[in-house]
Amino acid sequence: MRSYILLFISIALVNNFILAKFLGLCPFIGVSKRRKQAVGMGLAVIFVMTMASAASWAVYRFLLAPTGHNIFYVLLGDGRPVSDFDFTFLNTIVFILVIAVLVQLVEMFLMKVIPPLYESLGIYLPLITTNCAVLGVALLNIKDFGAVHGLAESFAKTVLQGFGGGVGFLIVIFLMSGIRERLDQMEVPPALRGAPMAFICAGLMALAFMGFAGMGQ
């Protein structure tokens, strides 16, 4: 149990995707202007990251990895070594495919069920497709837990890491949107108004998050 809590804190705060790994910066800057939108985007990312983790884990475990569960090994394996069924070189392209499909699905779902959120996310929802944090979490999962022996444990940790990554994203984008809403009221020198000031704030936030470094794993 302790290792699960540590894992969650580690991915959400210590190894935060935005401020420690510097992944997913496009939506971080693009959708952090208003708090409401930021929360919407954060929730969408949590959902997509969790789903993508689960889906990519399943694809990896049962299609790509050279393990006893590989479908091809089970069906065509008779007598041949398991290492013949190593398709891990397809990781990246298959994960991109999985994520793209998931985002499409989320988009359709939101359009039907929560139109106001769909409207406010606008172009950024399709952009989750190219959000490297999502691909990053999928690849990171494989690296961290791909080789864990127990199926249940491997799956649980993978999904938790995806969920935690999304939560970390939500926390940071929400903090950032609060800062930027305040910034709008401030008198910023014309040369720094808008994106430059946001970048400076993001840099300071990253410094602050570096304070977590060394905690846990």
Partner: protein, 275 residues
């Protein structure tokens, strides 16, 4: 060699079918008028309506949050087309044009500027290289911003082609000196200077700048010109474009657009009918 093809093909098929089913389950019926209105709009996505592109405006019109006349570049013609689709009557839209509030063509440079050749960048360096802090820098940000090819740089100075101008307001946003203003076409007389320097200082750097001599103020019968902060300012509500101040202005700062608009066939403004 064959394995990746099989794996990706299998996944592609699976996802394709899955998405097809999902699109059936989550189908949202879209109002067909949105598409028709969007087709009637100019489609240049200029943003003059204040919404994100023509699609955004089409949606807003259909949902009732924008007027059918909201497309400024489209003017009367588009307003009528849209009104037809929406089944309402279009109200009168008065055409506007962009006026350049400077004619300091021959203002000398204060220093040699060697930075990026845009007005935006140049204006950050001590307010630009020109002797006049208020006037046109002349690097053509406005001409580049104009999506309708209505602004041209002629000898390093912008000229508005009023026949093409649709008052989208891109130049207003692009000019770091704020020299453009959108004014109704029926107003023919404009002050082409924004300098609030004292007359003497203006005279030193520019032959055609406003020196706040107050002669326009004195000659105006309609009380439509005022000197505020060393600058002649028009009250267009009162101005009748009679042209008395144009004759009186010693520097030629106040300009009459009557003849040029006549030549272009823009004036007299044709009466716009509402139906």
């Amino acid at each position: 060699m064959i394995a990746p093809v099989i794996i990706l093909g299998f996944l592609g098929l699976l996802f394709g079918v899955g998405l097809y089913i999902a699109s059936r389950v989550f189908r949202v019926s879209v109002d067909t008028r949105i598409e028709r209105v969007e087709r009637a709009l100019p489609g240049s996505n200029c943003g003059a309506c204040g919404l994100a592109g023509c699609h955004g405006l089409a949606k807003a019109i259909v949902h009732g949050s924008a007027e059918v006349t909201a497309c400024i570049p489209g003017g009367e013609r588009v307003a009528h087309l849209v009104a037809d689709i929406m089944g309402v009557e279009a109200k009168v839209v008065e055409k506007k044009v962009a006026i350049l509030r400077c004619q300091g063509r021959e203002v000398a440079d204060r220093f040699i500027y060697e930075g990026i050749l845009t007005c935006q960048a140049a204006s950050l360096v001590h307010g630009g290289p020109k002797e006049c802090r208020f006037g046109c820098i002349g690097f053509g940000d406005c001409a580049r911003a104009c999506p309708f090819d209505a602004l041209h740089m002629v000898n390093g100075f912008p000229e508005v082609d009023e026949g093409r101008c649709v008052s989208c307001g891109k130049c207003v946003a692009a000019c770091p000196k704020g020299l453009f203003e959108l004014v109704t076409l029926s107003k023919l007389v404009h002050v082409r200077c924004v300098s609030t320097d004292a007359g003497k200082a203006v005279r030193k750097v520019c032959r055609v700048g406003c020196i706040a001599c107050r002669r326009c103020e004195a000659v105006c019968e309609f009380d439509a010109v005022r000197i505020e902060n060393n600058l002649a300012v028009f009250d267009y509500e009162k101005c009748t474009s009679c042209g008395m101040c144009v004759k009186e202005c010693p520097t030629g700062t106040i300009m009459d657009y009557r003849q040029s608009r006549k030549d272009l066939g823009l004036w007299p403004v044709k009466a716009v009918t509402g139906d």
